[in-house]
Protein backbone atom coordinates (compact mmCIF):
# COMPACT_ATOMS: atom_id res chain seq x y z
CA UNK A 1 0.00 0.00 0.00
CA UNK A 2 2.90 2.31 0.59
CA UNK A 3 4.39 1.70 -2.81
CA UNK A 4 4.12 4.57 -5.20
CA UNK A 5 2.32 2.69 -7.93
CA UNK A 6 -1.27 3.14 -8.88
CA UNK A 7 -3.00 -0.03 -9.94
CA UNK A 8 -6.43 1.38 -10.67
CA UNK A 9 -6.97 1.25 -14.38
CA UNK A 10 -6.78 4.66 -15.93
CA UNK A 11 -9.56 4.84 -18.46
CA UNK A 12 -8.99 5.98 -21.98
CA UNK A 13 -9.79 9.51 -20.99
CA UNK A 14 -7.49 11.68 -22.97
CA UNK A 15 -7.63 15.39 -22.42
CA UNK A 16 -10.28 15.52 -25.14
CA UNK A 17 -12.93 13.65 -23.23
CA UNK A 18 -13.71 16.48 -20.90
CA UNK A 19 -13.70 19.09 -23.62
CA UNK A 20 -16.90 21.08 -23.86
CA UNK A 21 -18.17 22.08 -27.27
CA UNK A 22 -19.71 25.42 -28.15
CA UNK A 23 -23.25 24.07 -27.94
CA UNK A 24 -22.55 22.57 -24.56
CA UNK A 25 -21.11 25.85 -23.41
CA UNK A 26 -24.15 27.79 -24.59
CA UNK A 27 -26.45 25.32 -22.86
CA UNK A 28 -24.55 25.71 -19.60
CA UNK A 29 -24.57 29.49 -19.88
CA UNK A 30 -28.32 29.31 -20.55
CA UNK A 31 -28.92 27.22 -17.44
CA UNK A 32 -26.86 29.65 -15.36
CA UNK A 33 -28.60 32.71 -16.81
CA UNK A 34 -31.85 31.09 -15.80
CA UNK A 35 -30.42 30.62 -12.32
CA UNK A 36 -29.66 34.32 -12.03
CA UNK A 37 -33.06 35.33 -13.38
CA UNK A 38 -34.90 32.99 -11.00
CA UNK A 39 -32.86 34.48 -8.16
CA UNK A 40 -34.14 37.92 -9.12
CA UNK A 41 -37.68 36.60 -9.40
CA UNK A 42 -37.46 35.07 -5.92
CA UNK A 43 -35.85 38.14 -4.43
CA UNK A 44 -37.14 41.17 -6.37
CA UNK A 45 -35.52 43.56 -3.91
CA UNK A 46 -32.25 42.96 -5.72
CA UNK A 47 -33.74 44.94 -8.60
CA UNK A 48 -34.39 48.04 -6.50
CA UNK A 49 -31.08 49.66 -7.35
CA UNK A 50 -31.80 49.30 -11.03
CA UNK A 51 -35.39 50.50 -10.71
CA UNK A 52 -34.99 53.38 -8.30
CA UNK A 53 -31.53 54.77 -8.87
CA UNK A 54 -32.24 56.28 -12.29
CA UNK A 55 -35.42 57.88 -10.99
CA UNK A 56 -33.86 59.37 -7.89
CA UNK A 57 -30.71 60.56 -9.64
CA UNK A 58 -32.46 62.23 -12.50
CA UNK A 59 -34.92 64.04 -10.20
CA UNK A 60 -32.12 65.18 -7.89
CA UNK A 61 -29.89 66.47 -10.60
CA UNK A 62 -32.52 68.12 -12.72
CA UNK A 63 -34.26 69.93 -9.85
CA UNK A 64 -31.41 70.48 -7.39
CA UNK A 65 -28.52 71.28 -9.70
CA UNK A 66 -30.25 71.81 -13.03
CA UNK A 67 -31.19 75.43 -12.34
CA UNK A 68 -27.75 76.27 -11.03
CA UNK A 69 -25.92 74.64 -13.90
CA UNK A 70 -28.11 75.57 -16.84
CA UNK A 71 -29.77 78.67 -15.41
CA UNK A 72 -33.18 78.95 -13.74
CA UNK A 73 -35.95 77.91 -16.08
CA UNK A 74 -33.55 76.04 -18.33
CA UNK A 75 -34.20 72.66 -16.71
CA UNK A 76 -35.49 71.23 -19.96
CA UNK A 77 -32.22 71.96 -21.76
CA UNK A 78 -30.42 70.43 -18.82
CA UNK A 79 -32.47 67.23 -19.17
CA UNK A 80 -31.27 67.11 -22.74
CA UNK A 81 -27.71 67.40 -21.47
CA UNK A 82 -27.95 65.15 -18.41
CA UNK A 83 -29.85 62.06 -19.58
CA UNK A 84 -27.32 60.84 -22.16
CA UNK A 85 -24.56 61.37 -19.62
CA UNK A 86 -26.43 59.39 -17.03
CA UNK A 87 -26.74 56.50 -19.46
CA UNK A 88 -22.98 56.20 -19.11
CA UNK A 89 -23.25 56.31 -15.34
CA UNK A 90 -25.95 53.62 -15.12
CA UNK A 91 -23.63 51.09 -16.69
CA UNK A 92 -21.01 51.80 -14.11
CA UNK A 93 -23.33 51.56 -11.13
CA UNK A 94 -24.91 48.33 -12.32
CA UNK A 95 -21.48 46.89 -13.07
CA UNK A 96 -20.49 47.49 -9.49
CA UNK A 97 -23.18 45.06 -8.35
CA UNK A 98 -21.52 42.25 -10.32
CA UNK A 99 -18.49 42.46 -8.08
CA UNK A 100 -20.48 42.08 -4.89
CA UNK A 101 -22.54 39.29 -6.50
CA UNK A 102 -19.47 37.28 -7.49
CA UNK A 103 -17.95 37.80 -4.08
CA UNK A 104 -21.10 36.57 -2.35
CA UNK A 105 -21.33 33.55 -4.62
CA UNK A 106 -17.88 32.53 -3.57
CA UNK A 107 -18.74 32.66 0.07
CA UNK A 108 -21.46 30.08 -0.53
CA UNK A 109 -20.96 26.40 -1.15
CA UNK A 110 -22.73 26.52 -4.50
CA UNK A 111 -19.55 27.68 -6.22
CA UNK A 112 -17.87 24.44 -5.10
CA UNK A 113 -20.65 22.56 -6.79
CA UNK A 114 -20.14 24.43 -10.08
CA UNK A 115 -16.42 23.94 -9.91
CA UNK A 116 -16.73 20.17 -9.50
CA UNK A 117 -19.07 19.91 -12.48
CA UNK A 118 -18.09 19.23 -16.08
CA UNK A 119 -18.68 22.79 -17.25
CA UNK A 120 -16.31 25.50 -18.40
CA UNK A 121 -15.61 27.59 -15.35
CA UNK A 122 -15.93 30.78 -17.37
CA UNK A 123 -19.59 30.01 -18.12
CA UNK A 124 -20.50 30.97 -14.55
CA UNK A 125 -19.02 34.43 -15.14
CA UNK A 126 -20.41 34.86 -18.61
CA UNK A 127 -23.92 34.04 -17.39
CA UNK A 128 -23.52 36.65 -14.70
CA UNK A 129 -22.50 39.25 -17.28
CA UNK A 130 -25.43 38.41 -19.54
CA UNK A 131 -27.86 38.95 -16.68
CA UNK A 132 -26.19 42.19 -15.62
CA UNK A 133 -26.42 43.52 -19.17
CA UNK A 134 -30.15 42.82 -19.02
CA UNK A 135 -30.31 44.71 -15.74
CA UNK A 136 -28.37 47.56 -17.27
CA UNK A 137 -30.74 47.76 -20.23
CA UNK A 138 -33.66 47.86 -17.81
CA UNK A 139 -32.02 50.70 -15.88
CA UNK A 140 -31.39 52.56 -19.12
CA UNK A 141 -35.02 52.10 -20.19
CA UNK A 142 -36.26 53.52 -16.88
CA UNK A 143 -33.84 56.40 -17.14
CA UNK A 144 -35.01 57.23 -20.65
CA UNK A 145 -38.67 56.93 -19.63
CA UNK A 146 -38.04 59.36 -16.78
CA UNK A 147 -36.18 61.63 -19.18
CA UNK A 148 -39.08 61.63 -21.61
CA UNK A 149 -41.46 62.50 -18.77
CA UNK A 150 -39.25 65.46 -17.92
CA UNK A 151 -39.25 66.62 -21.52
CA UNK A 152 -36.33 64.79 -23.13
CA UNK A 153 -36.45 64.84 -26.90
CA UNK A 154 -34.73 62.14 -28.89
CA UNK A 155 -33.46 64.37 -31.66
CA UNK A 156 -31.26 61.85 -33.36
CA UNK A 157 -32.37 59.07 -35.72
CA UNK A 158 -33.41 55.66 -34.45
CA UNK A 159 -30.03 54.34 -35.54
CA UNK A 160 -28.19 57.05 -33.63
CA UNK A 161 -30.33 56.38 -30.59
CA UNK A 162 -29.62 52.66 -30.78
CA UNK A 163 -25.94 53.51 -31.16
CA UNK A 164 -25.95 55.48 -27.92
CA UNK A 165 -27.54 52.60 -26.02
CA UNK A 166 -25.18 50.09 -27.58
CA UNK A 167 -22.13 52.16 -26.78
CA UNK A 168 -23.13 52.52 -23.11
CA UNK A 169 -23.89 48.80 -22.92
CA UNK A 170 -20.60 47.53 -24.32
CA UNK A 171 -18.68 49.94 -22.14
CA UNK A 172 -20.68 48.84 -19.07
CA UNK A 173 -20.00 45.20 -19.90
CA UNK A 174 -16.27 45.92 -20.09
CA UNK A 175 -16.43 47.56 -16.67
CA UNK A 176 -18.05 44.41 -15.26
CA UNK A 177 -14.82 42.49 -15.75
CA UNK A 178 -13.02 45.02 -13.56
CA UNK A 179 -15.58 44.57 -10.83
CA UNK A 180 -15.54 40.79 -11.18
CA UNK A 181 -11.78 40.90 -10.75
CA UNK A 182 -12.25 43.10 -7.72
CA UNK A 183 -14.96 40.81 -6.35
CA UNK A 184 -12.64 37.82 -6.68
CA UNK A 185 -9.74 39.63 -5.03
CA UNK A 186 -11.16 41.07 -1.83
CA UNK A 187 -12.66 39.27 1.12
CA UNK A 188 -16.13 40.72 1.64
CA UNK A 189 -18.87 42.27 -0.49
CA UNK A 190 -18.57 45.38 1.67
CA UNK A 191 -14.94 45.72 0.69
CA UNK A 192 -15.92 45.45 -2.96
CA UNK A 193 -18.38 48.26 -2.51
CA UNK A 194 -15.96 50.45 -0.59
CA UNK A 195 -13.18 50.10 -3.13
CA UNK A 196 -15.56 50.52 -6.04
CA UNK A 197 -16.81 53.81 -4.63
CA UNK A 198 -13.26 55.12 -4.42
CA UNK A 199 -12.88 54.59 -8.14
CA UNK A 200 -16.41 55.54 -9.12
CA UNK A 201 -16.72 58.93 -7.49
CA UNK A 202 -13.82 60.72 -9.23
CA UNK A 203 -14.67 59.10 -12.56
CA UNK A 204 -18.31 60.11 -12.35
CA UNK A 205 -17.91 63.64 -11.12
CA UNK A 206 -14.65 64.41 -12.89
CA UNK A 207 -16.49 64.07 -16.17
CA UNK A 208 -18.87 65.85 -18.46
CA UNK A 209 -21.82 63.79 -17.19
CA UNK A 210 -23.34 66.45 -14.98
CA UNK A 211 -21.86 69.72 -16.18
CA UNK A 212 -19.85 71.04 -19.10
CA UNK A 213 -16.14 70.79 -18.40
CA UNK A 214 -15.19 74.25 -19.66
CA UNK A 215 -15.62 75.82 -16.22
CA UNK A 216 -13.27 73.30 -14.61
CA UNK A 217 -9.62 74.05 -13.86
CA UNK A 218 -7.18 73.01 -16.56
CA UNK A 219 -5.85 69.88 -14.89
CA UNK A 220 -9.37 68.58 -14.29
CA UNK A 221 -10.45 69.43 -17.79
CA UNK A 222 -7.43 67.47 -19.00
CA UNK A 223 -8.53 64.51 -16.89
CA UNK A 224 -12.06 64.62 -18.31
CA UNK A 225 -10.63 64.40 -21.82
CA UNK A 226 -9.23 60.93 -21.12
CA UNK A 227 -11.91 59.87 -18.66
CA UNK A 228 -13.87 57.19 -20.52
CA UNK A 229 -17.09 58.20 -18.79
CA UNK A 230 -16.71 61.73 -20.12
CA UNK A 231 -16.11 60.49 -23.61
CA UNK A 232 -19.03 58.07 -23.40
CA UNK A 233 -21.26 60.85 -22.12
CA UNK A 234 -20.19 63.17 -24.95
CA UNK A 235 -20.69 60.49 -27.57
CA UNK A 236 -24.13 59.49 -26.27
CA UNK A 237 -25.15 63.13 -25.99
CA UNK A 238 -24.23 63.83 -29.60
CA UNK A 239 -26.07 60.75 -30.80
CA UNK A 240 -29.27 61.49 -28.87
CA UNK A 241 -29.26 65.16 -29.75
CA UNK A 242 -28.90 64.32 -33.42
CA UNK A 243 -25.49 65.90 -33.84
CA UNK A 244 -24.23 62.72 -35.45
CA UNK A 245 -21.64 60.43 -34.05
CA UNK A 246 -18.82 62.39 -32.48
CA UNK A 247 -16.03 60.31 -33.91
CA UNK A 248 -13.44 61.21 -31.34
CA UNK A 249 -15.27 60.50 -28.06
CA UNK A 250 -16.92 57.40 -29.50
CA UNK A 251 -13.54 56.06 -30.57
CA UNK A 252 -11.97 56.80 -27.23
CA UNK A 253 -14.85 55.01 -25.51
CA UNK A 254 -14.49 52.00 -27.77
CA UNK A 255 -10.76 52.02 -27.24
CA UNK A 256 -11.23 51.96 -23.48
CA UNK A 257 -13.79 49.18 -23.88
CA UNK A 258 -11.36 47.02 -25.81
CA UNK A 259 -8.40 47.70 -23.55
CA UNK A 260 -10.34 47.13 -20.32
CA UNK A 261 -11.84 43.89 -21.61
CA UNK A 262 -8.59 42.59 -23.05
CA UNK A 263 -6.72 43.19 -19.81
CA UNK A 264 -9.25 42.36 -17.11
CA UNK A 265 -11.23 39.50 -18.67
CA UNK A 266 -8.31 37.03 -18.89
CA UNK A 267 -7.18 38.07 -15.42
CA UNK A 268 -10.65 37.59 -13.98
CA UNK A 269 -11.15 34.22 -15.64
CA UNK A 270 -7.72 33.06 -14.48
CA UNK A 271 -8.35 34.21 -10.96
CA UNK A 272 -11.73 32.51 -11.01
CA UNK A 273 -10.20 29.22 -12.16
CA UNK A 274 -7.46 29.14 -9.59
CA UNK A 275 -9.52 30.39 -6.69
CA UNK A 276 -9.73 27.78 -3.98
Amino acid sequence: MSTATITAPIGKTGADEGRIGLRGNLRHIGALVRRNLVQIKNDPETLFDVLLMPIIFILLFVYVFGGAIAGKGNQQEYVQYLVPGMMAMMGMNVAMAVGTGVNEDFRKGVMDRFRTMPIARSSVLIAKIVVEILRMLLATAILLAMGLLLGLEIRGSLLEFAGSVLLSTVFGAALMWIFILLGLSVKTPQAVQGMAMLVLMPLQFGSSIFAPTTSMPGWLEGFTKVNPLSNLADAARALINGQGALAHPALITLGWTVVITAVTMPLAVRKFRSKT
Binding site: T116, M117, P118
Partner: protein, 348 residues
Protein backbone atom coordinates in the same frame (compact mmCIF):
# COMPACT_ATOMS: atom_id res chain seq x y z
CA UNK B 1 -27.67 7.98 -18.48
CA UNK B 2 -26.36 4.86 -16.90
CA UNK B 3 -23.96 4.69 -14.05
CA UNK B 4 -20.45 4.88 -15.37
CA UNK B 5 -18.39 1.85 -14.52
CA UNK B 6 -14.73 2.37 -14.26
CA UNK B 7 -13.06 -0.99 -14.16
CA UNK B 8 -13.60 -4.65 -13.67
CA UNK B 9 -15.37 -5.62 -10.50
CA UNK B 10 -13.32 -5.31 -7.37
CA UNK B 11 -10.93 -2.69 -8.72
CA UNK B 12 -10.18 0.50 -6.90
CA UNK B 13 -12.40 3.44 -7.62
CA UNK B 14 -10.06 5.77 -5.77
CA UNK B 15 -6.32 5.37 -5.37
CA UNK B 16 -4.20 7.93 -3.64
CA UNK B 17 -0.42 7.73 -3.30
CA UNK B 18 1.77 10.12 -1.38
CA UNK B 19 -0.65 13.02 -1.70
CA UNK B 20 0.65 16.30 -0.31
CA UNK B 21 -1.02 19.68 0.05
CA UNK B 22 0.55 22.40 2.15
CA UNK B 23 -0.77 25.87 2.84
CA UNK B 24 2.32 27.81 3.70
CA UNK B 25 3.66 26.17 6.83
CA UNK B 26 0.49 24.18 7.45
CA UNK B 27 0.83 20.62 6.20
CA UNK B 28 -2.87 20.03 5.65
CA UNK B 29 -2.30 16.79 3.74
CA UNK B 30 1.15 15.36 4.28
CA UNK B 31 1.70 12.19 2.28
CA UNK B 32 -1.59 10.32 2.31
CA UNK B 33 -2.07 6.87 0.76
CA UNK B 34 -5.47 5.30 0.50
CA UNK B 35 -7.66 3.05 -1.62
CA UNK B 36 -11.39 2.78 -2.01
CA UNK B 37 -12.58 -0.42 -3.61
CA UNK B 38 -15.33 -0.03 -6.14
CA UNK B 39 -18.81 -0.26 -4.64
CA UNK B 40 -17.61 0.20 -1.06
CA UNK B 41 -17.58 3.02 1.46
CA UNK B 42 -14.35 4.29 2.90
CA UNK B 43 -14.63 6.37 6.03
CA UNK B 44 -11.91 8.92 6.64
CA UNK B 45 -12.00 9.50 10.37
CA UNK B 46 -10.20 12.33 12.06
CA UNK B 47 -10.55 15.38 14.30
CA UNK B 48 -11.04 18.94 13.12
CA UNK B 49 -8.02 20.18 11.24
CA UNK B 50 -6.75 16.68 10.42
CA UNK B 51 -6.81 17.52 6.71
CA UNK B 52 -9.97 15.63 5.76
CA UNK B 53 -11.56 18.51 3.89
CA UNK B 54 -8.34 19.38 2.09
CA UNK B 55 -8.04 15.74 1.01
CA UNK B 56 -11.57 15.72 -0.38
CA UNK B 57 -10.99 19.05 -2.14
CA UNK B 58 -7.87 17.65 -3.80
CA UNK B 59 -9.71 14.54 -4.95
CA UNK B 60 -12.63 16.53 -6.33
CA UNK B 61 -10.39 18.92 -8.35
CA UNK B 62 -11.10 21.96 -6.18
CA UNK B 63 -7.46 22.06 -5.09
CA UNK B 64 -4.35 21.04 -6.97
CA UNK B 65 -2.11 18.85 -4.81
CA UNK B 66 1.53 19.85 -4.32
CA UNK B 67 2.83 16.31 -4.76
CA UNK B 68 1.71 12.72 -5.06
CA UNK B 69 -0.84 11.13 -7.33
CA UNK B 70 -4.52 10.41 -7.15
CA UNK B 71 -6.75 8.55 -9.55
CA UNK B 72 -10.50 8.82 -9.14
CA UNK B 73 -12.82 6.75 -11.32
CA UNK B 74 -10.00 6.14 -13.73
CA UNK B 75 -9.01 9.78 -14.10
CA UNK B 76 -5.91 11.48 -12.79
CA UNK B 77 -6.96 14.42 -10.63
CA UNK B 78 -4.26 16.69 -12.03
CA UNK B 79 -4.08 15.60 -15.64
CA UNK B 80 -7.71 14.77 -16.39
CA UNK B 81 -9.77 17.06 -14.16
CA UNK B 82 -12.49 17.68 -16.72
CA UNK B 83 -13.12 14.01 -17.43
CA UNK B 84 -13.02 13.36 -13.71
CA UNK B 85 -15.74 15.90 -13.02
CA UNK B 86 -18.14 13.86 -15.15
CA UNK B 87 -17.73 10.94 -12.79
CA UNK B 88 -17.96 12.42 -9.32
CA UNK B 89 -20.43 14.02 -6.96
CA UNK B 90 -19.51 16.16 -3.98
CA UNK B 91 -21.52 17.08 -0.93
CA UNK B 92 -19.50 19.46 1.13
CA UNK B 93 -19.59 20.38 4.76
CA UNK B 94 -21.50 23.50 3.79
CA UNK B 95 -24.55 22.97 1.64
CA UNK B 96 -23.54 23.37 -1.97
CA UNK B 97 -26.93 24.40 -3.28
CA UNK B 98 -28.17 27.81 -4.34
CA UNK B 99 -30.15 29.10 -1.38
CA UNK B 100 -32.10 31.60 -3.43
CA UNK B 101 -33.45 28.92 -5.76
CA UNK B 102 -36.16 26.41 -4.91
CA UNK B 103 -35.24 22.77 -4.47
CA UNK B 104 -36.66 21.97 -7.87
CA UNK B 105 -34.86 24.82 -9.61
CA UNK B 106 -31.58 23.70 -8.06
CA UNK B 107 -31.94 20.16 -9.33
CA UNK B 108 -33.20 21.23 -12.75
CA UNK B 109 -30.24 23.56 -13.16
CA UNK B 110 -27.80 20.81 -12.26
CA UNK B 111 -29.48 18.43 -14.69
CA UNK B 112 -29.06 21.02 -17.46
CA UNK B 113 -25.46 21.65 -16.51
CA UNK B 114 -24.95 17.89 -16.85
CA UNK B 115 -26.26 18.12 -20.40
CA UNK B 116 -29.62 16.43 -19.79
CA UNK B 117 -32.26 17.52 -22.31
CA UNK B 118 -34.88 19.84 -20.77
CA UNK B 119 -37.50 17.14 -20.47
CA UNK B 120 -35.13 14.66 -18.85
CA UNK B 121 -33.81 17.33 -16.49
CA UNK B 122 -37.39 18.05 -15.38
CA UNK B 123 -38.22 14.37 -14.84
CA UNK B 124 -34.98 13.74 -13.02
CA UNK B 125 -35.53 16.73 -10.72
CA UNK B 126 -39.02 15.44 -9.83
CA UNK B 127 -37.66 11.94 -9.33
CA UNK B 128 -34.87 13.01 -7.01
CA UNK B 129 -37.16 15.27 -4.94
CA UNK B 130 -39.53 12.36 -4.52
CA UNK B 131 -36.75 10.00 -3.55
CA UNK B 132 -35.33 12.39 -0.98
CA UNK B 133 -38.81 13.19 0.42
CA UNK B 134 -38.64 16.81 -0.67
CA UNK B 135 -41.60 16.89 -3.04
CA UNK B 136 -43.67 19.06 -0.73
CA UNK B 137 -40.87 21.58 -0.37
CA UNK B 138 -40.01 21.49 -4.07
CA UNK B 139 -41.07 25.07 -4.79
CA UNK B 140 -39.71 26.70 -1.67
CA UNK B 141 -36.31 28.45 -1.71
CA UNK B 142 -33.61 26.15 -0.39
CA UNK B 143 -32.57 28.90 2.03
CA UNK B 144 -35.80 28.30 3.92
CA UNK B 145 -35.16 24.57 4.32
CA UNK B 146 -34.21 23.01 7.65
CA UNK B 147 -30.64 21.76 8.00
CA UNK B 148 -31.63 18.19 7.28
CA UNK B 149 -33.68 19.08 4.23
CA UNK B 150 -30.86 21.15 2.82
CA UNK B 151 -28.43 18.29 3.30
CA UNK B 152 -30.85 15.93 1.55
CA UNK B 153 -31.19 18.38 -1.32
CA UNK B 154 -27.42 18.54 -1.46
CA UNK B 155 -27.21 14.75 -1.70
CA UNK B 156 -29.89 14.73 -4.37
CA UNK B 157 -27.92 17.32 -6.34
CA UNK B 158 -24.81 15.17 -6.10
CA UNK B 159 -26.72 12.13 -7.32
CA UNK B 160 -28.36 13.66 -10.39
CA UNK B 161 -25.53 12.66 -12.68
CA UNK B 162 -25.34 9.13 -11.24
CA UNK B 163 -21.69 9.59 -10.32
CA UNK B 164 -19.34 6.64 -10.07
CA UNK B 165 -17.66 8.11 -7.01
CA UNK B 166 -19.32 10.22 -4.37
CA UNK B 167 -17.46 12.40 -1.89
CA UNK B 168 -19.27 13.26 1.31
CA UNK B 169 -17.45 15.71 3.52
CA UNK B 170 -18.84 15.40 7.05
CA UNK B 171 -22.35 14.77 5.79
CA UNK B 172 -24.03 14.89 9.18
CA UNK B 173 -22.02 17.48 11.08
CA UNK B 174 -24.42 19.88 12.75
CA UNK B 175 -27.52 17.74 12.23
CA UNK B 176 -29.79 16.51 14.98
CA UNK B 177 -29.93 12.73 15.54
CA UNK B 178 -33.17 12.21 13.64
CA UNK B 179 -32.01 14.03 10.51
CA UNK B 180 -28.65 12.35 10.83
CA UNK B 181 -30.39 8.99 10.60
CA UNK B 182 -32.25 10.15 7.49
CA UNK B 183 -29.00 11.09 5.82
CA UNK B 184 -27.45 7.77 6.80
CA UNK B 185 -30.38 5.91 5.26
CA UNK B 186 -29.89 7.79 2.01
CA UNK B 187 -26.17 7.12 1.90
CA UNK B 188 -26.78 3.43 2.52
CA UNK B 189 -29.28 3.41 -0.30
CA UNK B 190 -26.81 5.03 -2.68
CA UNK B 191 -24.29 2.35 -1.84
CA UNK B 192 -26.84 -0.41 -2.41
CA UNK B 193 -27.39 1.17 -5.81
CA UNK B 194 -23.71 0.70 -6.54
CA UNK B 195 -22.02 4.01 -5.73
CA UNK B 196 -18.51 4.15 -4.36
CA UNK B 197 -18.34 6.56 -1.47
CA UNK B 198 -15.52 8.34 0.31
CA UNK B 199 -16.86 9.96 3.42
CA UNK B 200 -15.14 12.01 6.08
CA UNK B 201 -16.39 12.08 9.61
CA UNK B 202 -15.47 12.94 13.16
CA UNK B 203 -17.73 10.28 14.61
CA UNK B 204 -16.85 6.64 15.17
CA UNK B 205 -20.55 5.87 15.24
CA UNK B 206 -21.06 7.30 11.76
CA UNK B 207 -18.06 5.42 10.45
CA UNK B 208 -19.42 2.19 11.90
CA UNK B 209 -22.87 2.78 10.41
CA UNK B 210 -21.72 3.57 6.91
CA UNK B 211 -18.16 2.53 6.19
CA UNK B 212 -16.74 -0.80 5.11
CA UNK B 213 -13.21 0.34 5.75
CA UNK B 214 -11.67 3.11 7.74
CA UNK B 215 -8.68 5.35 7.38
CA UNK B 216 -7.84 7.33 10.48
CA UNK B 217 -6.02 10.59 9.80
CA UNK B 218 -4.37 13.12 12.05
CA UNK B 219 -2.30 16.15 11.12
CA UNK B 220 -2.42 15.30 7.44
CA UNK B 221 -1.18 11.74 7.85
CA UNK B 222 -2.78 8.32 7.94
CA UNK B 223 -2.28 6.85 11.39
CA UNK B 224 -4.36 3.69 11.06
CA UNK B 225 -6.39 1.85 8.49
CA UNK B 226 -8.39 -1.30 8.14
CA UNK B 227 -11.86 -2.78 8.28
CA UNK B 228 -14.16 -1.18 10.78
CA UNK B 229 -14.37 -4.29 12.97
CA UNK B 230 -10.58 -4.66 12.94
CA UNK B 231 -10.14 -1.13 14.16
CA UNK B 232 -12.86 -1.55 16.71
CA UNK B 233 -11.17 -4.63 18.09
CA UNK B 234 -7.94 -2.68 18.26
CA UNK B 235 -9.64 0.11 20.08
CA UNK B 236 -11.31 -2.21 22.54
CA UNK B 237 -14.90 -2.50 21.52
CA UNK B 238 -17.72 -0.76 23.29
CA UNK B 239 -18.59 0.93 26.52
CA UNK B 240 -21.47 -0.50 28.51
CA UNK B 241 -23.33 2.24 30.30
CA UNK B 242 -25.50 1.31 33.26
CA UNK B 243 -27.88 3.71 34.97
CA UNK B 244 -29.03 2.63 38.43
CA UNK B 245 -32.38 3.79 39.78
CA UNK B 246 -30.70 5.62 42.63
CA UNK B 247 -27.68 7.80 41.96
CA UNK B 248 -26.18 6.78 45.33
CA UNK B 249 -25.66 3.26 44.02
CA UNK B 250 -22.91 4.22 41.54
CA UNK B 251 -19.91 3.51 43.74
CA UNK B 252 -21.42 0.34 45.21
CA UNK B 253 -21.99 -0.93 41.68
CA UNK B 254 -18.40 -0.23 40.63
CA UNK B 255 -17.23 -2.04 43.72
CA UNK B 256 -19.45 -5.04 43.05
CA UNK B 257 -18.19 -5.34 39.45
CA UNK B 258 -14.55 -5.05 40.49
CA UNK B 259 -15.01 -7.60 43.27
CA UNK B 260 -16.69 -10.18 41.05
CA UNK B 261 -13.59 -10.40 38.82
CA UNK B 262 -15.58 -11.27 35.70
CA UNK B 263 -13.55 -12.54 32.76
CA UNK B 264 -11.75 -9.68 31.01
CA UNK B 265 -13.65 -6.93 32.75
CA UNK B 266 -11.54 -4.24 34.29
CA UNK B 267 -11.80 -0.53 34.63
CA UNK B 268 -15.45 0.03 35.51
CA UNK B 269 -15.84 3.68 36.49
CA UNK B 270 -18.57 5.79 38.03
CA UNK B 271 -19.63 8.92 36.18
CA UNK B 272 -21.29 10.95 38.91
CA UNK B 273 -22.26 13.85 36.67
CA UNK B 274 -23.93 11.54 34.18
CA UNK B 275 -25.34 9.26 36.90
CA UNK B 276 -24.01 6.15 35.14
CA UNK B 277 -21.39 3.47 35.48
CA UNK B 278 -19.16 2.91 32.44
CA UNK B 279 -17.76 -0.55 31.78
CA UNK B 280 -15.50 -1.22 28.79
CA UNK B 281 -16.46 -4.50 27.12
CA UNK B 282 -15.33 -6.38 24.02
CA UNK B 283 -18.06 -9.00 23.64
CA UNK B 284 -21.76 -9.63 24.08
CA UNK B 285 -20.92 -12.35 26.63
CA UNK B 286 -19.29 -9.75 28.83
CA UNK B 287 -22.35 -7.55 28.55
CA UNK B 288 -24.58 -10.44 29.66
CA UNK B 289 -22.22 -11.30 32.49
CA UNK B 290 -22.16 -7.76 33.89
CA UNK B 291 -25.91 -7.29 33.69
CA UNK B 292 -26.46 -10.76 35.16
CA UNK B 293 -24.12 -10.00 38.04
CA UNK B 294 -25.87 -6.74 38.88
CA UNK B 295 -29.25 -8.47 38.72
CA UNK B 296 -28.05 -11.25 41.03
CA UNK B 297 -26.76 -8.68 43.53
CA UNK B 298 -30.16 -7.01 43.61
CA UNK B 299 -29.29 -3.62 42.02
CA UNK B 300 -32.28 -1.76 40.59
CA UNK B 301 -31.42 -0.67 37.05
CA UNK B 302 -33.11 2.22 35.24
CA UNK B 303 -31.35 1.72 31.93
CA UNK B 304 -28.48 0.13 30.11
CA UNK B 305 -26.93 1.03 26.78
CA UNK B 306 -23.77 0.38 24.84
CA UNK B 307 -21.70 2.99 23.08
CA UNK B 308 -18.95 2.87 20.53
CA UNK B 309 -15.75 4.53 21.59
CA UNK B 310 -15.58 8.22 20.84
CA UNK B 311 -13.01 9.62 18.46
CA UNK B 312 -10.96 10.59 21.50
CA UNK B 313 -10.91 7.02 22.74
CA UNK B 314 -10.02 5.72 19.29
CA UNK B 315 -7.10 8.09 19.10
CA UNK B 316 -6.01 7.21 22.59
CA UNK B 317 -5.98 3.53 21.69
CA UNK B 318 -4.17 3.97 18.38
CA UNK B 319 -1.61 6.59 19.23
CA UNK B 320 -1.52 6.58 22.99
CA UNK B 321 -2.30 10.27 22.81
CA UNK B 322 -5.33 12.46 22.94
CA UNK B 323 -6.59 13.69 19.58
CA UNK B 324 -4.87 16.71 18.28
CA UNK B 325 -8.32 18.05 17.61
CA UNK B 326 -11.59 18.51 19.48
CA UNK B 327 -11.27 20.90 22.30
CA UNK B 328 -7.62 21.31 23.21
CA UNK B 329 -6.43 24.88 22.73
CA UNK B 330 -3.57 23.70 20.55
CA UNK B 331 -5.89 21.96 18.15
CA UNK B 332 -8.23 24.89 17.97
CA UNK B 333 -5.38 26.98 16.62
CA UNK B 334 -4.54 24.14 14.24
CA UNK B 335 -7.92 24.25 12.66
CA UNK B 336 -7.76 27.96 12.56
CA UNK B 337 -4.42 27.79 10.79
CA UNK B 338 -5.79 25.53 8.14
CA UNK B 339 -8.70 27.85 7.53
CA UNK B 340 -6.45 30.87 7.61
CA UNK B 341 -4.26 29.18 5.06
CA UNK B 342 -7.30 28.60 2.86
CA UNK B 343 -8.03 32.27 3.07
CA UNK B 344 -4.46 33.24 2.41
CA UNK B 345 -4.58 31.12 -0.70
CA UNK B 346 -7.76 32.87 -1.75
CA UNK B 347 -6.24 36.27 -1.28
CA UNK B 348 -3.20 35.62 -3.46
Amino acid sequence: MTRQTISTRGGNAVEVRGLVKHFGAVKAVDGVDLDVREGTVLGVLGPNGAGKTTLVRCLSTLLVPDAGRAVVAGCDVVRQPRALRRRIGLTGQYASVDEKLSGWENLYMIGRLLDLPRKDARTRADEMLERFSLTEAARRPAGKYSGGMRRRLDLAASMIGRPAVLFLDEPTTGLDPRTRNEVWDEVQRMVRDGATVLLTTQYMEEAEQLADELTVVDRGRVIAEGRVDELKAKVGGRTLQIRPTGAGELDRMVGAIAQAGLDGITGATADHDGGVVNVPIVSDEQLTAVVGLLGARGFALAGISTHLPSLDEVFLAITGQKTSGAGTPESASDTHDEQAAHHAEVGV
